[in-house]
Amino acid sequence: MFSPKEPFACGCLVSKMKKAIIYLEDGTIFQGRTLDTKGETAGELVFNTALTGYQEVLTDPSYAGQIVVMTYPLIGNYGVNDQDVESKKIWVKGFIVKEFCRKYSNYRAAKSLNQYLNENNIIGIEGVDTRALTRHLRVFGAMKGMISTEDFNPASLKKKLKKTPDMEGSDWVKEVTTKEKYIWGPKENFSFKVAALDCGIKFNILRILEELGCQVHVFPATASAQDIKAVGPDGLFLSNGPGDPAALPYVTDTVKNFFGVVPIFGICLGHQILGLALGGKTYKLKFGHHGANHPAKDFPRSRISITSQNHGFCVDADSLNKNEVEITHRNLNDNTVEGLRHKKYPLFSVQYHPEAAPGPRDAQYLFEGFIALMKEHKKKK
């Protein structure tokens, strides 16, 4: 870490051509080097502590608007393949690692990570003291930053960074949601019809729902309640996604129309939206949870899952009406809310990612819980 007064005091000595710097909004500068991609990019810096799963991270729409720092230093070891994608494109604004792997090794690999980033025009830099950067973000909180391979002038970078919007209050969902409604899964012979509000849905959620016999109607986040009801869903799914849940009143309002109408299951941003729709509040965490090792306790089942997490915002436990809403899950590291359910309506949600990808699959039983609710609901109908 270097104070802004003495930029470039230290760090890896790299030839000018490949030099890249990270300028943080508090003026701190980190150095690294770019492999191929050149240019500038800005976003909120977050660190991810998962040891594996960089391809899933890159393609997870929840990272839209963010620059991701991987804490594991060796990235790219197993290359990139055609299967492990969570959406159709890379969403991260930039990618920071200690060392990109030159030669990947895995029977499924189709190309190197560098090539993948290059083809998608994403700036990836290496040679960064990612532990120092992570510690900085932990102490001072997630903040905006800029990667540049061209402009190394702090004053000018500062000006540019000012123009980047803050994460708080930003609606990133409109960037990532599907433009048109589409159907995922079998055309016929399915057990349940699920309507999913796509706020940045990960493919693995869709894969799992499909495996469990669902036909999923994926709607743009802006879809109206009438549009959704028109397909006659057995359940409503609220997806993960990027940005501040408080900036999405249009989604929250839509969701309210389904309370007690069909079973609802929300994941991550979907969970926050549900929290807001139930009258709660959300707040921004200091540096968020981004990793694959967070213990979450499921109180009703008295069971701990090691979970995949990726969120910067959180539902405020005190803001929920205790008579209506029950907090079902908490994070054992910091006791934040990880899940809730309604005492009357068939709806529940979790802050973490039971669909994993990347991360442990401990909590996939939650999808079965959703199926069970839909089954019951159908019976009543």
Partner: protein, 1089 residues
């Protein structure tokens, strides 16, 4: 769920002596468990036959039994102590096997002892290959195709059905003893019959070969609420076919996608649940076909293992401690993560560095054995290195191995190695394959060809290639510019190149490189091992070095000072590095004691070590832990940042002692005995003059720097002579030399070992009794901690010979003389701290053989025998206390007798003769305590897995020298009810004494009568003393058969006498057990630290 309240007293089983496959990792796990359970208020009964362990320190458990680890012995302890429960999952395979036996023979039920951690069915399901296979298939996972066999016939049938190559794995053995890979029927028959023999239940598994597949291990923990976490994943660099203990391994797994890793994780969860391990740690091994990702389950250990120790050190997650807490009722979320303080243990550690473990071999000790690796473990120790990249960690690990490499260096000139040799060394797994991999790349082999030859994953091959490519780039620059620039030097350091390695590359010297990089501002930075990749604040100062922009050690230091409100004086303790023959757990024990003692005195203790198996590298043994190689450079980097007030070099064996001079010259404050005094003791010439000056006898000797000088000295003092290199430990390359010819061949071999130091030549005193003394001196006073009389005569390395304390045949007068000499030497050498002296007594004359101004291998044994913690006292003396500050009484009148016996690894090295000599070969030791020499010796033999027989036939064959004395010995055996079988020569002597002897042919007589006797199991004890240096090949066959059939084989007459004593005692006295605490209370042990 809180702690169980239905149990109060817990029996914990240790793992016994250090053997290949079961080393000090179980001291680490057992000690952690003891501490954790004691903290919870349980009363702990501990059994371990190994005195060199921290866990057998009398203050660790409430009742400490240094008794044999056999079902019979443990039953006596259960009968006496009546524990409520037994915890068998922390003492390796030994503990697990004993618990199984105790269950099977009804002892646990009889005394109502519950099994904690894993019950009988669980252990059976995991350990019994057939049950395990069924369990795996039941949950939908795959195992390699296989069959079981219980006889050679059955095995052959199965082999034909499965097709070669095949792997043979015996069930219920230690570390894969007796297993192997067979490529044809002939090889198969040999390995299969050996395997059936070595299996406790005479069962072998024959399975499809998955040689060359990728190998992985996952460390899993489960609690009683069915919460399961994976602590660490490990990927083996060496593929399937090489025992994981002999493989270079890397944490975390490098080449698995998240999808594949999660599949493996899911499988691990399913396996631990299906097998039913109730609480605690398990290790599960997988193989993955690199071509298509097919995953098969290899095996599971339902207990903590060597890999758990590695995983604990690699992540900071203390598996053994948590396993103990889970066993007594806690769940993972109820246990706090010590490092982060605020988060619970129910998480999966994530790391932001790369860890490389490299095994250490000692094939040089067994020149007859090939250094080829396979499924049976051969390594005796390991080193672990942490770096920000694999390249850095690998190079740190290679220099931390202390085998003369400065990293992935160029010890051999690749140009001089023929391609064919490279192909062979790559294709046949061996101890130096990693270096040949580099030579191959240097010679232009393609990565593809190297992969085909080694099946090492291309990822690793390319990483090594990157190191080489950088080296070439740096060399090209240097050749052109005749200098190094900052950019290259920094990159070199980031890639783990050591200063010494760079110096070798450019023909410079290490100090010059060090100075150069320091002027360029290139300094090591220290990062924390924190279980969470910096996501949470860490409170435990556990560091590794790397070359990055931010250093965390200084900031952490300020936090500590702020918390304590004061700055403590710092003392740094240098550990012993990887275990090897001659330097193992004993030295780690001493280092731990130094840390404990100095902490008590209020110092801040800093431990430096690179051995993941040890207690010293537990983050709560000292105030700070630096997990670093023990080289000058790495130690100086820590000194630069910590600026210790004192550094201790005399506890970690030869490793730190070898650094002493350079550290001293660099201005490092070494406390205790000065470097000058160390030198005086190590330099034979100076030492000889010193001994002469104080007027003590010594064998005639000289030190030679040339071949001519050596011959001249040997001629002058007369053969036989004892020849050895200086500055080595464990009698490395030491020989008794009988003529000029063998002297020349010795010099040839010693050249490489001694590296410029002179060769020492001593007159060999035949038929002398060897005596070891451990003492502490403070400059004015000397405390003789213990005098040990060796059972074998001088000439057998002290580390290999059995010894007894107090001495049982020495006269009071001799003992007094020995004490007096010890005082004179200690004061004359100005020793501050520990010293060890070896004497030889012949008649009434005492000779000084050797003085070591440092902790010795026997320090822990003496401490356990006498109850006086020598290492602790010595550490405090070094830090300024005086001996008078302790109430010490030299206790000559101990009521009990302690015998130390060594444990030898011969069964691991086929083709090696088991004869003892001046070069140390044992891997570990056991201790037997009782009220008579015979009883203590008998116990020590049981513990060393060579229990003396109570009846049957004894084979006696001795060399001419021993023939004079053999008759009386044989007579005693006959009196004790044994029959005697003998060869012609020896039988003549016996018959002439009127003994009834069965005469057998030696092997070379054309028949193998004797072998037939052995195979039929009729010989219960072998007494065979080899003749001279050239041992006869027929006797080698007999000794090899003894190993194979596990018949106690004694190769010295003194050893045979001790055995007779032991047999006598076990025939006439009941086997009884007693705790250390009880023994101590019977003696006037005058020590209060």
């Amino acid at each position: 769920m809180p702690r169980r309240s239905d149990i109060k007293k817990i029996l914990l089983l240790g793992s016994g002596p250090i053997v290949i496959g079961q080393a000090c990792e179980f001291d680490y796990s057992g000690t952690q468990a003891c501490k954790a359970l004691k903290e919870e208020g349980f009363e702990i009964v501990l059994v371990n036959s190994n005195p060199a362990t921290i866990m057998t320190d009398p203050e660790i458990a409430d009742h400490t039994y240094i008794e044999p680890l056999t079902a019979h012995s443990v039953e006596q302890i259960i009968k006496k102590e009546r524990p409520d429960a037994i915890l068998p999952t922390l003492g390796g395979q030994t503990a697990l096997n004993i618990a199984m036996q105790l269950y099977e023979n009804g002892v646990l039920e009889k005394y109502n002892v519950k099994m904690l951690g894993a019950n009988y069915e669980v252990i059976k399901k995991a350990e019994d290959r057939k049950c395990f296979k069924d369990a795996i298939i039941k949950i939908g996972l795959e195992v390699p195709k296989s069959s079981f066999a219980y006889s050679l016939e059955e095995a052959k049938k199965a082999a034909q059905a499965l097709g070669f190559p095949l792997i043979i794995r015996p069930s219920y053995t230690l570390g894969g003893t007796g297993g192997g890979i067979a490529h044809d029927m002939e090889e198969f028959e040999r390995i299969a019959s050996l395997g059936i023999e070595s299996s406790m239940i005479k069962e072998i598994l024959i399975e499809e070969s998955i040689e060359g597949w990728k190998e992985y291990e996952l460390e899993v923990m489960r609690d009683n609420k069915d919460n399961v976490v994976i602590v660490c994943s490990i990927e083996n660099l060496d593929p399937m076919g090489i025992h994981t203990g002999d493989s270079i391994t890397v944490a975390p797994a490098q080449t698995l996608t998240d999808r594949e890793y999660q599949t493996m994780r899911d499988a691990s969860l399913a396996i631990i649940r299906e097998v039913g391990v109730e609480t605690g740690g398990s290790n599960i091994q997988f193989a993955v076909d690199p071509k298509n990702g097919r995953m098969v389950v290899i095996e599971m250990n339902p207990r903590v293992s060597r890999s758990s120790a590695l995983a604990s050190k690699a992540t900071g997650f203390p598996i053994a401690k948590f396993a103990a807490k889970l066993a007594v009722g806690y769940s993972l979320d109820e246990i706090r993560n010590d490092i982060t303080k605020e988060t619970p243990a129910s998480f999966e550690p994530t790391i932001d560095y790369c860890v490389v473990k490299i095994p250490r071999f000692t094939f040089e000790k067994f020149p007859e054995a090939k250094d080829v690796l396979g499924v049976s473990m051969k390594s005796v120790g390991e080193t672990m290195a942490i770096g920000r990249t694999f390249k850095e960690a690998l190079q740190k690990g290679l220099r931390g191995l202390e085998i003369g490499h400065t990293g992935l260096d160029n010890k051999l000139n690749y140009k001089e190695i023929p391609d064919e040799k490279i192909r062979l060394r790559l294709n046949e797994p061996n101890a130096s394959r990693i270096f040949y991999l580099k030579y191959a790349l240097q010679k232009g082999f393609s990565q593809e060809e190297i992969f085909q030859l080694t099946k090492i994953d291309p990822w690793f091959i390319d990483q090594i290639s990157q190191i080489l490519e950088f080296e070439n780039k740096l060399m090209a620059f240097y050749r052109k510019e005749k200098r190094l620039n900052e950019e290259l030097l920094r990159q070199a350091k980031e890639m783990g190149f050591s200063d010494a390695q760079l110096a070798q590359m450019i023909n410079s010297d290490e100090n010059a490189i060090r100075t150069l990089r320091k002027t360029m501002g290139i300094e090591a930075t220290f990062k924390l091992v924190d279980t969470c990749a910096a996501e949470f604040e860490a409170y435990t100062p556990y560091y590794y070095s790397t070359y990055e922009t931010e250093d965390e050690a200084l900031a952490q230091d300020e936090k500590i000072i702020a918390k304590l409100g004061q700055k403590r004086k710092k003392i740094m303790i240098l550990g012993g590095g990887p275990n090897r023959i001659g330097q193992g757990i004993e030295f780690d024990y001493c280092c731990c004691h130094a840390a404990f003692a100095l902490k008590e005195m209020g110092f801040e203790t800093i431990m430096v070590n690179s051995n993941p198996e040890t207690v010293s590298t537990d983050y709560d043994t000292s105030d700070k832990l630096y997990f670093e190689p023990l080289t000058f450079e790495d130690v100086m980097n820590i000194v630069d940042i910590e600026k210790p007030d004192g550094v201790i070099v005399q506890f970690g064996g030869q490793t730190p002692l070898n650094l002493a001079r350079r550290l001293h010259e660099a201005g490092v404050p070494i406390i205790g005995t000065t470097v000058h005094s160390i030198d005086l003791a190590e330099d034979r010439k100076k030492f000889s003059a010193f001994i002469e000056k104080i007027g003590i006898a010594q064998p005639e000797n000289g030190s030679a720097r040339s071949v001519d000088e050596a011959i001249e000295i040997a001629n002058r003092i007369g053969y036989p002579v004892l020849a050895r290199p200086s500055y080595v430990l464990g009698g490395r390359a030491m020989r008794i030399v009988y003529d000029k010819e063998s002297l020349l061949s010795f010099i040839d071999e010693a050249k490489e070992v001694s590296q410029g130091h002179p060769i020492l030549i001593d007159k060999f005193i035949e038929d002398a009794i060897e005596i070891d003394v451990d003492a502490i001196a403070d400059g004015k006073k000397v405390f003789v901690g213990g005098i040990m009389e060796h059972i074998e005569n001088a000439g057998i390395h002290s580390g290999d010979s059995a010894c007894v304390l107090p001495p049982h045949t020495l006269s009071e007068e001799l003992v007094d003389k020995i004490k007096e000499y010890t005082r004179q030497i200690a004061l004359g050498l100005k020793v501050i701290g520990l010293l060890n002296i070896q004497f030889a007594a012949k008649g009434n004359k005492i000779y000084v053989l050797e003085v070591n101004p440092r902790a010795s291998r026997t320090t822990p044994f003496v401490s356990k025998a006498t109850g006086v913690p020598l290492a602790k006292i010595a550490a405090q003396v070094m830090a300024g206390k005086k001996l008078d500050d302790f109430k010490l009484v030299e206790c000559d009148e101990l009521k009990h007798v302690s015998v130390k016996e060594s444990v030898l690894p011969f069964s691991r090295f086929s083709g090696v003769d088991i004869v003892l000599g001046p070069e140390m070969k044992s891997t570990g030791e056991v201790m037997g305590i009782d009220y008579s020499f015979g009883a203590a010796f008998a116990k020590s033999q049981i513990s060393a897995n060579q229990a003396l027989p109570k009846e049957g036939r004894v084979f006696v064959s001795v060399n001419d020298h021993d023939k004079r004395n053999v008759a009386f010995l044989a007579k005693r055996l006959v009196d004790l009810g044994f029959g005697i079988v003998s060869t012609k020569g020896t039988s003549r002597v016996l018959k002439s004494s009127g003994l009834d002897v069965v005469v057998v042919n030696k092997h070379s007589d054309g028949q193998s009568d004797l072998l037939a006797y052995i195979q039929k199991g009729e010989i219960k004890l072998i007494i065979n003393t080899p003749s001279g240096e050239r041992s006869q090949s027929d006797m080698r066959v007999i000794r090899a058969a003894a190993i194979l059939y596990n018949i106690p084989c004694i190769t010295t007459l003194q050893g045979a006498w001790a055995a007779v004593n032991g047999i006598d005692s076990s025939l006439h006295k009941e086997f009884t057990v007693k705790s250390l605490q009880e023994y101590y209370s019977e003696n006037c042990i005058g020590c209060a630290v």
